[in-house]
């Protein structure tokens, strides 16, 4: 195994911040390869417990692919190809273990990809997401949630490259950090010259519940086109004391208040899964996480 540079920030910045990328040792071979094509069932669920390459090809009907990644140590490569007009929803639930995940997607004209990623107690997860929006009017929507505690580590690098005219991207990230957890989220919207009429938004909301957490947020916009609208925002901090006071005045104990608010932080992300069974399973995992905490 060799150390490989991962999650390189497309526009590097001050070196002392340590956010320009990371490194991990990863195995050379992938144990398994799975191809999901548009001819398969419209809902596909796969359980990934070892290093795997997953290829998702869009079809005539909208596709929903749910991947539950729960390996001790694994590299997961996911490639998504959405041809003209195809619609794909990809759900990735990543829990426990040391995981390196690399997702690459390319979107043709009028294609759409909706990505839901939920990270639960990842001991050390590195996740790179590269979205190439080459097709005119292609749409990318992502909902990313994470709950980390103890010494959990999570390093995400989302890079949305908007080449096509009138492309639209919308990213929502919500997370909870506890214990000594550390998280880096880099989110880049890259408007290339010629992407006339494109739009891109990104919003991260982070709830910090313990004094030793480390949160790094890097919301980047790169713009080489005049006719675009881009925005990003981030709010990072503690629970609003007014919320705590209100709930205490309704008789809810303080510990339970923290759990309720932490779960509600991810509630809007879980609702985007679009598969009742998976939503309930994730809800149970979140509940277990709360009990453990």
């Amino acid at each position: 195994m060799a150390a490989v540079k991962l999650n390189q920030l497309p526009a590097p910045t001050f070196s002392w911040l340590g956010v320009n990328g990371t490194e991990r040792e990863i195995p050379d071979d992938l144990a398994e390869e799975i191809v999901i094509s548009g001819r398969d069932e419209s809902v596909t669920k796969i359980d990934v417990q070892k290093s795997t390459k997953v290829t998702v090809n869009g079809g005539v009907d909208p596709q929903l692919v749910v991947m539950h990644i729960r390996a001790e140590k694994a590299v997961i490569r996911t490639a998504v190809h959405a041809d003209a007009g195809q619609q794909i929803r990809l759900v990735q639930i990543i829990s426990g273990g040391e995981t390196v995940s690399a997702l690459q997607a390319d979107l043709a004209e009028n294609a759409s990809l909706e990505l839901v990623q939920i990270y639960l107690n990842t001991a050390d997860a590195v996740s790179g997401i590269e979205i190439a929006m080459n097709g005119r009017k292609s749409v990318f929507t992502s909902h990313i949630g994470y709950v980390l505690a103890d010494d959990d580590r999570l390093d995400i690098n989302l890079n949305i490259v908007q080449n096509g005219k009138k492309t639209a991207s919308d990213t929502t990230v919500r997370g909870v950090l506890r214990g000594h957890a550390e998280k880096v989220f880099r989110g880049t919207i890259d408007f290339k010259n010629g992407a006339e009429g494109a739009s891109g938004t990104e919003q991260e909301n982070v709830l910090l519940l313990d004094e030793h957490v480390v949160n790094k947020t890097v919301p980047v916009i790169l713009c080489a086109e005049e006719d675009v609208v881009g925005s990003h925002g981030a709010t990072i901090g503690q629970i609003d004391p007014k919320q705590i006071f209100y709930m205490q005045s309704r008789g809810i104990p303080e510990k339970q208040i923290y759990e309720i608010l932490a779960q509600s932080q991810l509630g809007s992300i879980v609702k985007q899964i679009g598969d009742a069974e998976t939503e309930q399973a994730v809800g149970r995992l979140l509940g277990k996480e709360a009990d453990d905490a």
Binding site: T13, F14, V214, K216, L222, V229, G233, A234
Partner: protein
């Protein structure tokens, strides 16, 4: 079909005049221990400063160029002249300043500003200060405003200089901080005693006239407890085809409950590499306010840093960057929250046109001990055409839960609806666009001294004037 206002380049005739230099005044180009010793001897450095310069040179030699930011490969360090002997010693009487230097600063409006609205003025021409003066009543209040070279030999202040010089920005900070430590020359020293509140500003103006030269002035300001100061810094140079270099350094010490406003209008010519470092250390209840306008230079790296080191310390950064043809301006701010209940606010605007590249870069770090701290960052970028570029690269590094951090950024172009609305009220398209851009920059101009705000608005109006085609 959409029509666009064609944007003319800025009229730089106000700044673009020059005088021939006497070649015998130039030290050799390049950076070697021999040249450093020669500079040190010319300036009459004390031993500790000569040794400091030589140590800085060693650090410069082994440090690498930054691996991020705009390219600086057009800068050939071996071609840069780091020191030019002054034609005159520093004067406190304007009439004693050599004629061509006097004319330079008069054309830039400096003595007029002193007479009308400043508590004191410093003027640097190439490597050395040529004029420094403070009003009598200001000097009587105990305020010191002079050059670093002479105060280094003053028994009353020599030890203060030694304790503070390049302690906030050590030569190990980055390659150009090391270069500054080796070749620095000129700049200002300001000392404001406890409780003294200056109601009118002090101003230093830096003019680099020589071709292929560098300017490396050092500004050191110390505000004691409960004092207040507004310091204004201006810089310009005529245009040459050879690259010029500005690697100045600003160190600001803001004492308990003191307040410092540091305003800069940077208008170097478009052959300049502006690799400047500015840093403030703010003690309990103190406040630093940066107001920064970046209009000139070929390449800029400029990110004033505020270290909030005492409970309740605060920082505010308001900036605008205007990148036109041939310019790659990388600007922003850095804030370090290193004490409880500190607060910071960054508010920036950037405009890109005619192929210019503007990058907003920031770092907000909140340490574990900074409980109860707050920070908000807002940056907006305006693209005036499709051949320019505008990037936003902020970082937030948060290491305590008891804090509230917010960030927002927007990028876009002038709204067609807004132009249409103004045109429906009788304005032509150019005037409508100019008004929208002036409004966009309004948060900065309202923070500037009046004459600078007027100059900035004139500059924007000039940029926006042109035929519709």
């Amino acid at each position: 079909m959409k029509q666009k206002a064609q944007v003319a380049d800025i009229d730089r005739s106000l700044y673009d005049f020059r005088y021939d230099e006497d070649a015998s005044d130039f030290l050799s180009s390049g950076i070697t221990p021999e040249i450093i010793r020669e500079i040190s001897e010319e300036k009459g450095d004390p031993d500790w400063m000569r040794d400091f310069r030589l140590r800085s040179l060693e650090i410069f030699s082994r440090m690498k160029m930054p691996v991020w930011g705009p390219p600086v490969d057009g800068l050939e360090m071996r071609n840069i002249v780091t020191y030019i002997r002054p034609k005159s010693r520093m004067n406190s009487d304007w009439n004693d300043v050599p004629e061509h230097i006097k004319e330079t600063f008069e054309r830039l409006g400096i003595p007029q500003a002193e007479r009308e609205s400043l508590a004191g003025v410093g003027a640097q021409y190439d490597s050395e200060l040529v004029y420094h003066n403070v009003r009598k009543e200001v000097a009587e209040s105990g305020v010191v405003y002079t050059d670093l070279e002479s105060v280094m030999h003053d028994p009353q202040y020599a030890d203060i200089i030694r304790r503070h010089f390049m302690k906030l920005v050590p030569p190990t900070d980055h390659k150009f901080a090391a270069l500054h430590g080796a070749v620095w020359s000129g700049g200002s020293f300001v000392y404001v005693p406890a409780g003294v509140k200056l109601e009118i500003p002090l101003q230093s103006y830096f003019r680099l006239n020589a071709k292929g030269a560098g300017q490396f002035e050092h500004t050191l300001i110390i505000l004691e407890e409960n004092s207040e100061l507004h310091f204004i810094e201006g810089c310009s140079a005529p245009k040459y085809y050879e690259a010029g270099l500005h690697a100045g350094c600003v160190e600001l010490y803001v004492g308990k409950h003191a307040k410092l406003r540091y305003s800069t209008i940077e208008n170097w010519s478009k052959n300049m590499y502006n690799l400047n470092t500015k840093r403030a250390l703010v003690e309990e209840g103190g406040r630093i306010e940066w107001v920064s306008g970046s209009f000139g230079s070929h390449v800029s790296y400029l990110y004033p840093m505020s270290i909030l080191n005492g409970r309740g310390a605060a920082a505010e950064f308001t900036g605008i960057t205007f990148a036109g043809e041939g310019q790659n301006l990388d600007t922003g701010a850095k804030i370090v929250h290193n004490a409880p209940e500190t607060s910071s606010h960054i508010d920036t605007k950037s405009i890109s046109k005619s192929g210019g590249i503007s990058t907003f870069r920031s770092a907000v770090t909140v340490h574990e001990n900074a409980v109860g701290s707050r920070s908000s960052v807002s940056c907006e970028s305006l693209m005036l055409d499709g051949i320019s570029r505008s990037d936003t690269v902020p970082v937030m590094d948060i290491r305590t839960d008891k804090c509230d951090i917010g960030h927002e950024a927007k990028i876009g172009r002038i709204s067609d609806d807004a132009v249409f609305y103004l045109m429906s009220r009788g304005m032509d398209e150019q005037a409508a666009r100019a008004m929208i851009v002036s409004g966009f920059a309004g948060n900065v101009s309202k923070e500037l001294p009046l004459e600078y705000a007027v100059e900035m608005n004139n500059l924007i109006r000039l940029e926006m004037t042109g035929a519709v085609g």
